[in-house]
Amino acid sequence: MTILTGRKIKKIYGKRANAQEVLKGVDLEVQEGEFVGIMGPSGSGKTTLLNVLCSIDFATEGVIEINGRRLNELKEKELATFRREQLGFIFQDYNLLDTLTVKENILLPLSISKVSKSEANRRLLELTKLLGIQEILNKYPNEVSGGQKQRTSAARALISNPSIVFADEPTGALDSKSASALLKNLEDINRGKRVTIMMVTHDPVAASFCSRVLFLKDGQIYTEMYKGDKTRQAFFQEILNTQSVLGGDGYDA
């Protein structure tokens, strides 16, 4: 089943003479249960694409459908509700509220939903167990490590049982050990709970956890690769090769 469809997505910043076309007509489809990575050189439009897909930003042209709802037909308030109920977000700099405890941060998206407290607690227990953060529930974000913060952020993204989770460079601020732990968690959740995940990354290691990787170049999809039955190591090699074809210059790392 298709969760997300994008048709001819264009994003243009600025006007007329200054106009800069960041996305030049991107088409893509994401099936339920996929773990999609988006890679590409800096300035290729990765983050813009993610922002447009997740309704934080508006596409200049094109159609985006998530779970059968067309985003450009929704009003601001409906979009907010849609994001809260259907989408989950993980950001590079965690974006946790530092006046809230870890537990309060995780439960935040449910605060104006109709989910009962006992159901919320059940989900909280399940997710924190899965992510290994039961011990820090009553701590404040500034009292825990970066990896724990990002896992908190992941738990927050998953607590509302979203149709799709968007992750923007989730490992960007983490050391390699925390990064692979987090990716392993995401992979487990993707497989175990059939949660669809879409992740922007510039890190080939992170991308190698995905089931499919899209390469973006100059605002267009350059190529895409499926992991299939390959091992993570083999997939990683393949990604590295593609990257070198794309050109090493201007890579952020």
């Binding site: 994001r83 950001f91 530092d98 809230l100 605060s111 919320a120 927050r156």
Partner: protein, 660 residues
């Protein structure tokens, strides 16, 4: 880009942040200039005879200086903090500190020159308005002519120059002291906010609440003479101030977080969006905000108390006059009875009541509460005015008394507060020959006679009255008869009657003749004269305090606004996050309303409570009416104060809209 164009650009960009500051500066200069103008205006000086308004204006202008200095220092401190990153950036690109100081200096000079210019201009225009308001308050009808006062201009410019200097020195000190790195982190430094909440804080929070409660309790006992010594009043005042101000600080520092923490713990992690936006930021910011909130609360309380008391005094002009002169006119000892003939000749309808009065000692020891009578501080056995039941019946036809009973009237105001008496107890009447106990069946504050020291008057039955008169030497009784005259058509006849009253000479009563035959006169004001006297003496005070109160309000309101502005910017990131994960602007605004209700409401509420108890303990010294003037003052204050809350909410709305 030259330095001046850089300055102009940064000012244009910061205009949104500046405008309230700028407005407050202009207002202060306007107020200052007007007051000084009035102070040197000959018309204002001549017309008000009761008091010297110039002295009032002078005090007010000095107070304005204090308010403005305090306000400007605080506002500039906040601005420097907000702009620390900008200043850091200038340094980073290689500007020297002296250059940056020149930059800031230039900015401030422009700002102050504008404020001074506009303020003086508005001040000149508004001084006429102020003069009109003052004359209206004093019930004087004169044409006020105002000229531009160079003296006022000089002093206003001097004030601006002085304040500019203070601001510059503050900025220079700040820039010179800090390192580049700390400038970049300055706006984050206040954010050592996320702390756990300890048991210690809870105890302190509880103590704060108790301290305020105790202060309030003592304030209700301020004039209680039981167990009182000479220093009691002074000590009590110190206790009240210490308990309430200290308590206020504790409340902000500890109690608020303590209470909110209890609420939060009960939620067990399931916070609503309102909790997230209102409850938790308030809790975590209380440590840094406690001092300024205490200050704002205390300033609010002081302003409100002074405003309320002076308005009470002004508002009570008429009823105070009625208390000291119970009828439109009181003729003493038959002096000035010609006045009544003159009224008749002029066809002014009136009704007169004659009160024959005798004096005898009445011991009221038993009416007072035990310890007060025993303390020995009071002479409970004093000469008291006595009138008969039939005299009293002239004004209250249905009133009756049994034999052996009596009634006390004229017992009101501060005296009644300090010497509370209980009815249905015995008092002893002591004549030269006999003494007898009568039962006092009721005690009231009704003003019946015009007495010298607002002392109480005893009403006894006619038989008792005759017996007292027969057995006491009445030759020393100063006022043995009062005639109360009330005009029947007061509205139409009052002005004519007032003229006649003065013509008849009844307004001065001879009360003593010395050995050489020189006669001493006592002023015997009519009720209207007394009311006008009150109005004139209170008019200037209410005028001055009202504008000072406004200056206080503006200073505290602006400071709260500035604080909220920087809080909003600090929390911008959270708003962005919340909007990204799917909360709409209106969801967030709901939380903001609650937060603002708290940020503005709590200092206001505590300030109101403080001033309520302060006014309640001392209002009897100022007037005779409490509820109406107090409610009017507080109502106006709350309304004006809310404007700042609304401005803040508008600012938050802009921030949240732009946050995604």
């Amino acid at each position: 880009m030259t330095l001046s164009s850089l300055v102009l650009r940064s000012m244009a960009k910061n205009i949104k942040h500046y405008f309230l500051y700028f407005f407050a500066l202009i207002f202060s200069v306007t107020l200052y200039f007007s007051f000084i103008t009035l102070q040197y205006n000959p018309t204002v000086l001549l017309e008000s005879t009761g008091m010297k308004p110039a002295a009032g204006f002078k005090t007010a202008s000095v107070l304005i200086i204090f308010i403005v200095v305090f306000f400007v220092l605080y506002a500039n401190h906040l601005f420097m903090k907000r702009r620390s990153k900008e200043i850091g950036l200038y340094q980073l690109i290689g500007m020297s500190k002296p250059l940056i100081i020149r930059l800031l200096g230039l900015e401030n000079i422009i700002l102050w020159a504008l404020a001074a210019g506009i303020g003086v201009g508005l001040g000149f225009l508004s001084s006429r308005l102020f003069a009109l308001i003052l004359m209206r308050l004093l019930e004087q009808q004169v044409v006020v002519s105002l000229t531009f006062s160079t003296q006022a201009l000089k002093q206003s410019l001097l004030l601006c120059a002085g304040l500019l200097l203070i601001v510059l020195v503050q900025s220079i000190l700040k820039i010179r002291r800090v390192s580049l790195l700390s400038l970049f982190n300055a706006s984050k430094q206040a954010d050592e906010r996320v702390k756990r909440f300890s048991g210690f804080g809870m105890v302190m929070g509880f103590i704060g609440l108790v301290a305020i409660g105790y202060g309030y309790y003592v304030s209700t006992q301020l004039f209680n003479l039981e167990n009182a010594t000479v220093n009691t009043l002074f000590i009590r005042m110190i206790v009240i101030l210490a308990a309430t101000i200290g308590g206020t600080f504790f409340v902000f520092r500890f109690s608020v977080s303590f209470v909110l923490n209890l609420v939060r713990m009960r939620k067990k992690g399931h916070l609503s969006i309102t909790d997230v936006l209102a409850l938790t930021p308030i809790m975590h910011r209380m440590k840094g905000n406690a001092k300024s909130l205490t200050l704002i609360t205390v300033l609010t309380a002081v302003a409100l108390t002074v405003l309320s008391l002076s308005y009470i005094a002004y508002y009570s002009s008429a009823s105070s006059a009625q208390q000291s002169v119970p009828h439109d006119y009181m003729l003493m000892n038959g002096h000035g009875v010609e006045f009544m003939d003159m009224l008749e000749e002029n066809n002014i309808a009136f009704k007169s009541v004659t009160f024959p009065i005798i004096r005898a000692n009445v011991d009221i020891a038993n009416l007072l509460s035990g310890s007060l009578a025993e303390s020995g501080m009071l002479n409970t056995d004093a000469e008291t005015d006595i009138i008969s039941l039939s005299t009293y019946k002239q004004i209250h036809e249905d009133f009756t008394l049994q034999e052996g009973e009596g009634v006390i009237v004229n017992h009101g105001g501060l005296l009644a507060e300090m010497l509370p008496m209980k009815s249905n107890r015995p008092a002893t009447v002591k004549t030269d020959v006999w003494q007898e106990s009568i039962k006092i069946v009721s005690i009231s504050d009704e003003s019946v006679l015009s007495t010298d020291n607002m002392s109480a008057v005893v009403i006894v039955t006619d038989a008792m009255y005759d017996r007292i008169e027969a057995s006491t030497d009445q030759s020393k009784t100063r006022w043995n008869e009062q005639i109360g005259i009330n005009l029947l058509n007061k509205k139409e006849d009052l002005n004519r009657a007032e003229v006649l009253y003065v013509e008849s000479g009844a307004d001065a009563v001879p009360f003593n003749t010395n050995a050489e035959g020189k006669v001493y006169y006592k002023e015997n004001m009519s009720q209207e004269q007394s009311r006008q006297f009150n109005i004139e003496s209170m008019g200037v005070i209410i005028f001055v305090t009202a504008f000072l109160g406004l200056a206080f309000l503006l200073a505290t309101g602006s400071i709260l606004y500035f604080k909220q502005m920087s809080e909003a910017e600090d929390e911008l990131e959270s708003y962005t996050t919340l909007r990204k994960i799917g909360f709409s602007t209106s969801d967030l605004m709901k939380g903001i309303y609650v937060k603002q209700l708290f940020s503005f409401g709590v200092p206001l509420l505590i300030g109101l409570a403080h001033s309520f108890f302060a006014v309640k303990s001392g209002w009897l010294l100022f007037g005779t009416e409490l509820a109406t003037p107090l409610m009017i003052t507080m109502g106006i204050y709350i309304a004006l104060y809310s404007v700042f809350a609304l401005l803040t909410i508008r600012y938050y709305k802009g921030i949240i809209r732009a946050s995604l």
